[in-house]
Each structure stands twice: as C-alpha cells, then as structure tokens.
C-alpha cells in the first residue's frame, strides 16, 4: 500500500525519472554514466556542460531515438524501453523535439514541415492552417510559410524546427541547442516563448552551452561532464 502510494505520488509529480542510466556507444565512448535524475511535471530545466558531455545523448534517449545501455528511463511512469513500435510513435507525437541539426524535410515547404504531424493525425485542414500560422508567427516566420528549408538561413531553419516542436501542444518539449544559431536578442525571445509554453503546464528541457542565457532565464540547470552530473544550480 505504501509503495503503491509513493509510486502514485511519484507518477503525479515526476514526469521523467532516470536511474543509473548509462549509454555506451559502440566505439567504447561512455556518453552517459550512472545518471540518476528526476524531472518534475511542469518543470523548466536546463542541461549544460562542455561539448561532448552527453546532453544530446540524454535527449535522444528521452525521445527513444536510442535505448539505454544500462539503467532505466521512465517517462510518466512507463519505461521507454518497454514500449511497442506504435506506442513509441504515439509517445514521440506527444513530445516536441528541437534537433540540434534541425532535421527539416528538404522537399517539404515550411508549412508542410510544421504541419506534418497534424496531417498524420488527421487534424482538420482549417485547424492545421490556423495552428501552423500561429506558431510560425510566434517564431516570427509566418511570411516564409511557402519557402523550402534550403531557402532559409540557419537561424530561420532553427526557428522552423522550434515551431514544429511546439505546434502540436506537446506535454514535453525537448530542445537541443535551440538558440545555437540565433543572436542574443532572438535567443532571449525564443526562451521567453519556451517560458510561456512552460507556464501553460508543459515540461521543458533545454540543452545549451549558453551560460549567459541560463543566467538570464534563471531556472534549474544541471551541468553534465563526461556523462555525469557535476553540478545542479
């Protein structure tokens, strides 16, 4: 009874739980080592640390792009390793992911890139249009709706990737260096956007090198180095 209650409380409060999570890549690189960490529902968390520290690896595990070598990773009380293929796809649709390298589909227009998941979900065309237009406006690119990704600058592509991550009202936003290609003012604007999303209850995890940005936003930040937690601020 006790354990059931605490499990229930944990499910209610914690969204992401890792215990002794390790990721060993094939070349013997330990990208993550015995990482135990809890991220609460509705939290806004920064992941920081030097290049190669394992930030992207943790986010990839959270999207279930990769599976842990050891340890466990639970989201909303369910181990990601146990999900079936279609459950994985459904889970991914509930996550907004901003990739470090954007990953836009080259032959899709900006509009198609952003609205793709809604299209797959069978959202009404009018709703798709309205929502896509809205997020594109948030990132300031509504006028580039019909452009192809290759016609955009790096920063513009990054903002499209952000728009795609936010369009489907995700329960969890995972962003890998979402401001890596943006100037400081625009970076802060995007962070404010994430804060707004977070204020509406969405959990946000942002990986970034930018300590100045973390300082200005002022939220919990976990510093990784060599796959281990070295500091929590």
């Amino acid at each position: 009874m006790d354990s059931a209650l605490s499990a229930l409380r944990a499910i209610l409060k914690a969204l992401i739980e890792t215990s002794k999570l390790s990721k060993l890549y094939s070349r013997g690189v330990h990208a993550l080592r015995d990482l135990s960490l809890t991220i609460d529902k509705g939290e806004f968390l920064f992941l920081t640390g030097p290049s190669g520290a394992g930030k992207s690896t943790l986010l990839r595990l959270l999207l279930r792009e990769e599976l842990p070598s050891e340890g466990e990773l639970k989201v909303a009380g369910r181990s990601l390793a146990d999900l079936s293929y279609s459950q994985v796809q459904a889970y991914r649709r509930s996550v907004g992911f901003v990739f470090q390298d954007f990953r836009l589909i080259p032959r899709f227009t900006v509009f198609q890139n952003v609205s793709f998941v809604m299209r797959v979900l069978g959202v009404q065309a009018a709703v798709q249009q309205r929502k896509t237009f809205q997020v594109l406006k948030w990132v300031g690119l509504q006028h580039r709706m019909n452009s192809l990704p290759e016609e955009l600058s790096g920063g513009e592509q990054q903002r499209i990737a952000i728009a795609r991550a936010l369009v489907n009202d995700p329960q969890l936003v995972l962003a890998d260096e979402p401001t890596g290609n943006l100037d400081p003012d625009l970076s802060l604007e995007i962070m404010n956007l994430f804060r707004e999303i977070n204020a509406s209850g969405t959990t946000v995890v942002v990986a970034t090198h930018d300590r100045e940005l973390i300082r200005r936003v002022g939220r919990r930040a976990i510093t990784l180095d060599h796959g281990q937690i070295v500091e929590i601020v």
């Binding site: 293929y85 279609s86 796809q89 996550v95 992911f97 990739f99 589909i105 793709f116 797959v120 069978g122």
Partner: protein, 296 residues
C-alpha cells in the same frame, strides 16, 4: 483511409520523381504479364475448342452390307435417344462414298478403280457429353459390337484427349514461365522501391522521430509498388490486345476455321481484372519487401 490517401499522393509524386527507374519495374511487370496473358489467350481458346469438339462428339456404327432390316431395327433400338444419345442418322453406302470423294479428291480415282463401293453404310450417332458418361458409352459400344450385322464401332475421343492434354501442357508451360517472370518482376519492383527508400532515408528518419505511424512511413512505398504493378499490368493488357487485334484477321481466324473453332476470343473481362489485380499484388509484394522491417 487518410493514410491511404496520403500514401497515394506521395507515391504518385515519388513515381514522377523517379520515373526512369520506375519505368524499369513497370516494364518488367508488363513483360511478365504479357507472356502470361498470351498463354492465357491461347489456352482459353484451345479450351473452347475442346468444348466445341466434345459437344460434337460422335460415334460411328458401321453396318455390314448384308444386314437384314431386322438386324438394323435391333441396332436402331439400341440407338434410341436417351440419357446417352442425342440422335442418330443413317448414312447409306452411296452417301458415304460421295463424302469420301469430296474429302479426299485425290483418292477418289482410286476408289473408282476398286469397282465395288468399299465403304460401308453407317449410323452417325450424336452423344451427350455429360462428364463421367465414358463408361456407359464404352458399354454401349461393346453391346453394339456384339450385335449381328455390326462390323465396327468407332467413337474414339483420342483427338479430343490429345487436344486436352496439349492444353494442359501449354497451361503448365505458361504458368511456370509466368511464375518465373513474375518473381523477376517482383524483385525488380523491390529494388526500385529500395532505391527510392534509400534516396529518402533521411526524410524517413525524421518522420519516424516526429512520430509518424508506420502506415505513413511505409505506406507510400508500398503504394508505389502497387501503382507500378497496376501500370505494368495495364500496359501488358494493352499490348496484348493490340497484338491480338492486329493478327486476328490475318492469322487467328483462318487458323480457327481450319480446326472448326467458331471464333477466337480475347481474355474474358474477369481474366483481365485478375491480371490487373495480379500485377498490383506483385507490386505490393515488392514494395512490402523493400520497405522491410520497422526498426525505429
């Protein structure tokens, strides 16, 4: 339904982008089904020939020149129309000779020199061609042979059996050849689809990572195979029909007339649809194989 529409749109776009390699698989499917279809046209017509021949199945009962009217009426009693026999007709010696002269003009002179008419009178008996009646026919023939005044009974269906055997062989050859070509076509489709898949692997990765269901990721590729198969089959049917129409008047009709076949026909609508569906199935199979496992 939505996934189907999506798959269809994407497959059309992809086919258009990769039209040269798509042409290759469409062409191989077309060749395979053309060969298969040609065999089908041949065998279906031969089958009809067999049916027409057996409908005209006859038994000849040859009568001795010295037969008395009593003997003849005994024979006629046995030939009364019933479950086995449709009707019979008496052919006199003279009539038989006339027929012989007409059929074998060259030998007619020889027949004259013999002097006496050597050809016996006979009854031509039309038989029902109910399946399984063979035993009863054999039995009837035996009884007729034992009757006084009957010199011979001929009802050999050897020709018919040979024809039917030939149809079987032809069907077998066609099926084996068609099967080989169909497998080759399926492999070609699989390779072409795999090529398209390889060219778009980044895009597929992205779709997987944003959570697109399998139907949306593999669907377009499978649909591409289906469309290639369908187009190949349509092409094969069109080519077959063209060839058929082109040679019908010159070659097929005279050939049919020579073997007493009333008409030469193209594949039935059902067979055309079966071929079309077959092409799509082959393409679908190629697409399925090529788009392979669903490793996330």
């Amino acid at each position: 339904m939505r996934a189907l529409q999506y798959a269809f749109d994407e497959a059309l776009a992809s086919l258009w982008r990769g039209r040269t390699s798509g042409l290759l698989s469409t062409a191989t499917i077309a060749v395979a089904l053309f060969v298969l279809g040609a065999f089908l046209v041949a065998t279906s017509n031969l089958e009809r020939l067999g049916a027409e021949w057996s409908r005209a199945a006859e038994m000849s009962v040859y009568i001795d020149d010295e037969t008395t009217p009593e003997m003849r009426s005994a024979v006629e009693a046995m030939l009364a129309p019933g479950p086995l026999i449709v009707s019979f007709r008496f052919v006199t010696k003279l009539e038989a000779l006339e027929r012989f002269k007409q059929t074998f003009a060259d030998l007619a002179a020889a027949a004259e020199t013999v002097g006496d008419n050597p050809i016996p009178a006979s009854y031509e008996v039309r038989l029902h061609t109910t399946p399984g009646s063979q035993d009863a026919v054999d039995e009837l023939a035996a009884r007729l042979r034992r009757s006084e005044g009957v010199v011979d009974v001929r009802y050999d269906r050897q020709w018919l059996d040979r024809l039917l055997a030939a149809v079987n062989v032809l069907q077998g050859v066609g099926l084996v050849l068609g099967a080989f070509l169909t497998v080759a076509a399926a492999l070609t489709v699989a390779n072409v689809v795999r090529l398209a898949l390889y060219a778009r692997r980044d895009e597929i990765d992205i779709m997987r990572l944003v959570g697109a269901p399998d139907a949306y990721i593999r669907g377009p590729f499978i649909m591409e195979g289906v469309l290639q198969g369908g187009m190949g089959a349509a092409l094969a049917l069109a080519a077959l029909a063209t060839v058929f129409l082109a040679i019908r008047g010159r070659y097929l009709m005279p050939l049919a007339a020579a073997v007493n076949l009333s008409s030469v026909r193209f594949l039935s609508l059902e067979l055309c649809l079966v071929l079309l569906a077959g092409g799509m199935l082959v393409g679908c199979f190629g697409g399925l194989v090529a788009s392979g496992g669903r490793d996330s």
